[in-house]
């Protein structure tokens, strides 16, 4: 597999090089936001609404203000006039989208449990927390909107001034007549309704902010546990009204995000605003149960999915109607998230007609936004569950129905009905490899044996074939989707006088290992050691341009920019070498740190000489500037489309309803791999997160919209003990979209795994005539479904 065009005879790309980030992380040396010492900072804590929907009649903070250590207490009305603009939403998906303004602290009405109503600043944390109890807020309760059906019915309104709970209706239906006629003439129509439960992203590190005003000059440094220091800087400038030229944003070590830190949050705006107002450093650290309420949630959708197919099970059309829960307000990307999946409800199948509608509605719950996979897990779940239903209807094995519908390899680049161009793919060999490796036939035989025996431990096997789109991406396309930013990425490669290399990237890693991977790319191209390469990032004063890390974009876009900048700097070094050797640049080859004249043995010039020459500038060729540095801002021509097959094998205990995940195998095709160990790590974590959605996790609300599981006692985030060892494998289909041939892997695992697991559970329960179990497939849910099947006599013996 060729990964990087190499200037090295000792290739490191493609090897399982250990991560350079890990020693600091494993020894506790890494500095997370709470490790940053700022002795004169005031601690900020927020009083959060215990009511989901209420009018704030009064906020009395006089007692709290008198408590020891308390410096200031502000209500929402106290802070009116501090903001330049409301909290930003950067994705107005339709021209008439309704986006009611909201501010860091509510002044009139609270819209979810956890909405901030007052802020306390104190000289220490405990004093600040103690003062919360002394603030007296008088609420007038308002009727709540607690579920999507009620939201659509507009009986009660979250934002009465809008006259509706609907924020937007977004439609993608390139050829309605074609869809209608496919459904009219179809032999099989499969209709399903799926619920994507709300999920709490639960990054290992909660959020935190430290806003530091500089003593003179009106400058500020803001540290935040964020995925997006660059976007945050621009947005803070626009909302707080501090010039972008006077604001530096730093993301220190960040303990995971999964999309939940791809946002601009109230606390960031508030800390900066109060640092300006009091001219004091302000710090805030989120508590875990606060994180459950005040950090965005993921998913929260009802999906109505219809497939039209001919007698052989060949799909003629897909029609999807989605209702998506926005929560109480729109956050940075809230409305766009379900639409990221809106182009992919036909999966990796060749489907000629397509229709997708999404209605985004407000509810009195925590706002939703991007959570690992963002839209694509939902789409994959819908199509892969529907494929199993179609297989049953047609009377063929789930593997066979997929074979019949795959996009054929010769059709790439494939123009999909919804309007994307899939870069590359070869689906059938990937599926066959997965079936072979798991021993699909043997598992089916064992399943039959158990059924014949009347075993109460039912075996189930579930397939999930997926394609996703990542590497966000062409700025033009994002523009056509009304997204308020581009999709490019920037990189600078600088060869220092001693021939050590600085790489500056606009991506912002928070666990992914960019420092390792980026250094591997540069090491191979320059033929030098990774140890001689330093990777700088996540500080707007050091890496001024970038669009940060989300949507599995960093390697495909940012890594490619690094590669291209390395090429560019090498071109410049070549000019210097050619000048010194008195040959023309075309006559030079480059390998392992040396330029050599083609054919003539012995004549060579070291990269280190070029580095020093570029620095001293004593004898540079005509028109060549001093310094060896190149910057590339790369805007890819297309998204990338990783794909693969995941297979789950489960055992369901009929008596308790408990599902045991016995085996989990994945064959992923993420294009070329820079560091397969990092790829495996991303896949494994993703699978665990997806299985968590399938079997364990759900943000549960009562009818008054109280979150019932805000701690890890109730919110069942699984641990390694709940999983078997995953069996991982790959096929490699390079992407033609970028110079590295890479596709992206950050989200694949959690996109593929929920339907694999639920398909397996439903397969295990086939004897009972059970056709679906909503996620999470808890033991009680499974047991109840079995009981119901017994009562209604659907059991097929």
């Amino acid at each position: 597999m060729t990964v990087v065009e190499s200037g090295s005879s000792k290739r490191v790309t493609g090897t399982r090089m250990l991560r350079r980030e890990d020693p600091a992380l494993l020894t506790g040396e890494a500095k997370f936001i709470d490790d940053i010492v700022q002795t004169d900072a005031l601690y900020m804590v927020l009083l959060r609404s215990p009511m989901a929907h209420a009018r704030i009649i009064s906020v009395d903070s006089s007692a709290a203000k008198r408590m020891p250590g308390v410096v200031a207490v502000f209500s929402g009305s106290d802070l009116r006039g501090e903001w330049l603009a409301p909290m930003p939403c950067a994705w107005p998906v339709t021209v008439d989208m309704k986006n009611p303004p909201h501010y860091p602290v509510a002044a009139d009405v609270v819209n979810y449990v956890g909405d901030a109503v007052a802020v306390v600043l104190a000289s220490d944390k405990i004093a600040a927390v103690d003062a919360l109890a002394a603030i007296d807020v008088n609420y007038e309760p308002l009727p709540v909107v607690s579920n999507l059906e009620d939201a659509l019915a507009d009986k009660n309104l979250v934002h009465p001034a809008l006259g509706t709970n609907t924020s937007y209706v977004w439609n993608l239906e390139p050829d309605k007549a074609k869809v209608d006629s496919a459904f009219a003439s179809a032999e099989h129509v499969v209709r399903s309704r799926f619920v994507q439960q709300r999920l709490i992203p639960s990054a290992m590190e909660t959020r935190g902010v430290l806003a530091v005003p500089h003593p003179y000059g009106g400058e500020y440094t803001l540290f935040s546990s964020t995925q997006i220091p660059h976007i945050l800087k621009t947005m803070l400038s626009l909302t707080v009204g501090i010039s972008e030229a006077k604001l530096r944003v730093i993301a220190p070590s960040v303990g995971g995000g999964f999309g939940s830190k791809l946002n601009v949050y109230s606390e960031e705006v508030l800390a900066l605003t109060l640092a300006r107002k009091l001219h004091k450093p302000i710090r805030w650290t989120e508590e875990r149960s606060e994180n459950s309420l005040a950090t965005i949630h993921g998913r929260g959708q009802i999906q109505d999915v219809e497939l039209a197919a001919d007698a052989d099970g060949k799909i003629m059309a897909v029609r999807v109607n989605l209702v998506a829960d926005m929560g109480g307000y729109l956050q940075l990307l809230t409305p766009g998230v379900p639409l990221l999946g809106g182009f992919l409800y036909h999966g990796l199948y060749d489907v000629p007609a397509y229709s997708f509608t999404c209605t985004g509605v407000f509810t009195n719950k925590t706002p939703t936004d991007a959570y690992r996979g963002a839209g694509r897990p939902e789409a994959t779940f819908a199509i892969e569950r529907s494929m199993d239903a179609l297989a049953k209807r047609v009377g063929v094995d789930p593997a066979e129905i997929r074979r019949r519908n795959f996009i054929a390899p010769e059709k790439f680049p494939y123009s999909s009905a919804p309007g994307l161009v899939f870069d590359s793919g070869n689906y059938l060999p990937n599926l066959e490899m997965a079936l072979e490796k798991i021993g699909y036939k043997e598992i089916r035989a064992e399943q039959e044996r158990r059924r014949a025996e009347g075993s109460r431990k039912h075996l189930g096997v579930g397939l999930s074939c997926y394609v996703e789109m990542c590497g966000l991406a062409p700025s033009k396309v994002l523009g056509s989707l009304s997204y308020s930013a581009g999709g490019w990425e920037s990189a600078t490669v600088r060869i220092l006088p001693t021939c050590k290399v600085q790489v500056v990237t606009g991506t912002s890693p928070h666990g992914q290992g960019h420092e390792t991977s980026w250094s591997m790319i540069v090491a191979d191209r320059l033929g030098i050691n990774t140890a001689d390469i330093e990777v700088l990032h996540s500080d707007t004063a050091i890496a001024p341009y970038g669009l940060d890390t989300y949507g599995s974009r960093s390697l495909a876009v940012g890594g490619s920019a690094v590669y291209l900048a390395t090429e560019k700097v090498l071109e410049k070094a070549k000019l210097i070498a050619a000048h010194a050797l008195e040959v023309s640049p075309e006559d030079l080859d480059y390998q392992d740190g040396e330029f050599k004249v083609k054919g003539s043995a012995g004549k060579s010039y070291a990269l280190s000489s070029a580095a020093l020459e570029a620095f001293t500038a004593h004898d540079l060729p005509e028109g060549v500037e001093p310094n060896l540095e190149a910057t590339v801002t790369w805007d890819p021509p297309n998204f990338t489309f990783p794909f693969g097959t995941h297979i789950a094998v489960v055992e369901v205990d009929e008596e308790t309803g408990q599902t045991d995940l016995l085996r989990y195998l994945s064959i992923d095709d993420v294009g070329n791999q820079i560091n397969p160990m990092i790829v495996d790590g991303q896949i494994e974590g993703g699978i665990a997160q997806g299985v968590a959605q399938a079997l364990f996790e759900e943000a549960v609300y009562d009818e008054s919209c109280n979150l019932l599981d805000s701690t890890f006692i109730e919110y069942l985030m699984p641990s390694a003990a709940e999983f078997p060892s995953f069996e991982l494998g790959n096929t490699v289909t390079p992407s033609p979209t970028n110079p590295l041939g890479v596709k992206g892997v950050g989200e694949a695992g959690c996109i593929a795994s929920p339907p694999a697991v639920i398909n397996a559970v439903v397969d295990a329960l086939a004897e009972f005539g059970i056709e679906h179990i909503d996620m999470p497939a808890s033991p009680e849910k499974v047991w109840s479904a079995i009981e119901l099947a017994r009562l209604s006599g659907t059991r097929v013996d």
Binding site: I126, A721, E722, E780
Partner: protein, 271 residues
């Protein structure tokens, strides 16, 4: 999550702990802290003073006393789990201890803390209840011995006085069969329902998380005493019991689980 402010003192001996408890209002013993500290952080408990008995090594022992094994109240779950004496004389107890939480919980949490906390959802209280263990408590008026069957009285409530220290757990040796069935979702979780069965002449069965205290499955025990089959006896697992409903399980599902798990426990214990 920050607890309200409190004072802290390290007790030098059991009598010292008793005397602080009786003189300082709202003071509370701190053993492993793995039940008390979470409550304090959630501000569901706010004692004025913590009396730390965590380093009283004289309360950490496992000793052979002839027909019973004496376990010091401060013995960590990890030590119960790995005790050779208990493994041979009261094998159910080390097994149950191995099912508590995760390794870090088992290295900090103590058997005395778990029993004094009296949580109906905890594993060890139900096990000692099925074992008909006895507890030794020391207070200002001296020492008393309390049978497990009289110890647990309500939600996080036991017969211990506020100024009493539980010092020892006396578990009778037995040679018959036993079983512990713990049903939960994640390895480190409390049981959604748990069942302990000990067969030593008669068969005793206790239930975890079926009520506000650990409970004996009296319906099952009576049926077995009357010679009922395992199937029949397990169908009476929740007779007279009204199990709670929560996010993990409705009351009806708990009843069902109790029946399944009691049956499995009896099959294993009476094999």
């Amino acid at each position: 999550m920050f607890p309200a402010s409190f004072d802290y003192v390290k007790a030098t001996s059991v009598p010292d702990a008793v005397s602080i408890l009786s003189s300082v209002e709202d003071s509370k013993l701190l053993a492993g802290g793995h039940s008390l500290l979470p409550l304090m952080k959630l501000r569901l408990a706010s004692p004025s003073m913590l009396v730390d008995i965590g380093s009283l090594s004289e309360l950490s022992y496992i000793e052979d006393k002839g027909d019973y094994v004496a376990v010091g109240a401060l013995t960590r779950h990890h030590d119960v789990q790995n005790s050779r004496l208990l493994k041979s004389e009261v094998p159910i107890l080390p097994y149950v201890a191995s099912q508590v939480g995760d390794p870090s919980v088992r290295h900090r949490g103590t058997i005395g803390g778990s029993i004094s906390h009296g949580d109906g959802a905890s594993d060890l209280p139900a096990a000692v209840l099925a074992l008909d263990a006895k507890f030794v408590a020391v207070g200002p008026k001296g020492e008393r011995v309390i049978p497990a069957s009289q110890f647990f009285v309500g939600f996080l409530e036991t017969v211990l006085d506020l100024d009493e220290v539980l010092t020892e757990i006396r578990v009778p040796k037995f040679s018959g069969g036993w079983s512990y069935q713990k049903f939960n979702r994640r390895a480190q979780d409390w049981a959604i329902v748990g069942v302990a069965a000990v067969s030593n002449g008669s068969t005793k069965v206790s239930l975890v998380n079926m009520g506000s205290t650990p409970l004996r499955a009296v319906g099952t025990e009576a049926a077995l005493a009357d010679g009922a089959s395992i199937e029949e006896a397990s169908s009476k697992a929740s007779d007279g019991i009204d199990p709670p409903s929560d996010l993990n399980a409705s009351s009806a599902y708990r009843r069902h689980l109790a029946e399944v798990l009691v049956r499995r426990a009896l099959v294993e214990a009476l094999r």
